[in-house]
Amino acid sequence: MPTKMLTCSRIAFTTVAAGWLLGGVPLSATDAPRVPTVTLRRADGTTAQLADYQGKVVLVDFWASWCVPCKTSFPALDALYTRNRDRGLEVLAVNVDEQRKAADAFLATRPHTMPVVFDPNGEAAHAFMVRAMPSSFLIDRIGHIRFTHTGYSKGTLDSYEREINSLLSEP
């Protein structure tokens, strides 16, 4: 009996863990954690607070120049931003490179319109408890983290579209 229970708990744990790892973890507005208070630095030296985006649906994406899947996800997220910004979507691409010149070289070869902010000391990444690169967090209009994605694959973009539509339709 204890062995059976152990197996059941193992299966339950694996299912939950797989759900988290595969991304797209939905949380209801009431259960979802509040967005952490972080200060992000823009290229021009000014700062941005996530609290400033209250009332908008925000996708926060952590990326780095050395992260291989980020080379695919970065332009895809930029296209997602271009398609949905008029509907109220904001995208914040948070760079975690320690060396700014590495980030600048990456950005120079990838034209983009989405706002890029810098977190060289990993303070924002720590506050969001980033567990893989890239990682993204979808924040609803009232500042709750409703969906998280770790890594990037072909299906991730479809999930984003679906989740963004759902969050944008909320009041």
Binding site: F62, A64, S65, W66, C67, V96, D97, E98, Q99, A102, G122, A125, H126, V130, R131, A132, M133, S135
Partner: protein, 76 residues
């Protein structure tokens, strides 16, 4: 072993563990820029590695030493 020796040994082992374990650190996923650098790879240039393996196999008859199958004739 006298109790004093045992105590000294335990203390020494504890001290050694404290000193060596202090060198361990958890690298977060977002801090892996240096680890992801191509210079950190054992075989950064795969074509160079396979070329070296090829002539070394042919010259030394050391087939299989690099994880590839070969007859050692240098003709593969």
């Amino acid at each position: 072993m006298t109790p004093t020796t045992t105590r000294v040994s335990v203390l020494a082992a504890g001290l050694l563990a404290a000193v060596t374990l202090a060198g361990c650190a958890t690298v977060q996923p977002y801090q892996r820029g240096r680890l992801a650098d191509p210079e950190m790879m054992f075989d950064a240039d795969s074509s160079s590695v396979s070329y070296t393996a090829h002539w070394q196999e042919a010259r030394e008859g050391a087939a299989g030493g690099f994880g590839v199958q070969s007859g050692g004739c240098g003709c593969k």
